[in-house]
Symmetry: C2
Subunit: 73 residues, 2 copies
């Protein structure tokens, strides 16, 4: 699995944990819903500004988000 | 300080801690040295693929890299 796919799966897992729809996450993060859908599928090479918007919308910080075995080397 | 600047400062701090020149980090990460220079100045909205290349070249993983008070909300 590549880093885009790992990132997407983690976004999706946290979104579902928070009981957010893609639409809700889009509204809170101010990122387009189609873009979020693509991110969750691992199809977007997201920028650090988009990463920040999404993970803050999911109410976590960078360290918490990336503290997951899927991101270990 | 915005997220691009925070990211750049952390890259620079770790690079210096490792005693790497920008040139060396460029060679190890396979990212252009001018691009790395811009990143350290906070001038690039880096993608997750570039982030991965750089932090692995710095011999840390995502959780370690972002586990820094500068990235707290």
């Amino acid at each position: 699995m590549n880093i885009k796919e790992k990132f997407g799966l983690k976004v999706k897992a946290l979104r579902i944990e928070k009981n957010f729809s893609i639409e809700q996450l889009a509204n809170i993060s101010n990122v387009d819903r189609n873009y979020i859908s693509d991110i969750e599928k691992g199809q977007r090479n997201v920028s650090i500004e988009i990463i920040e918007k999404i993970i803050h919308a999911l109410d976590v910080d960078f360290a918490t988000f990336f503290n997951d075995k899927s991101f270990k080397r």
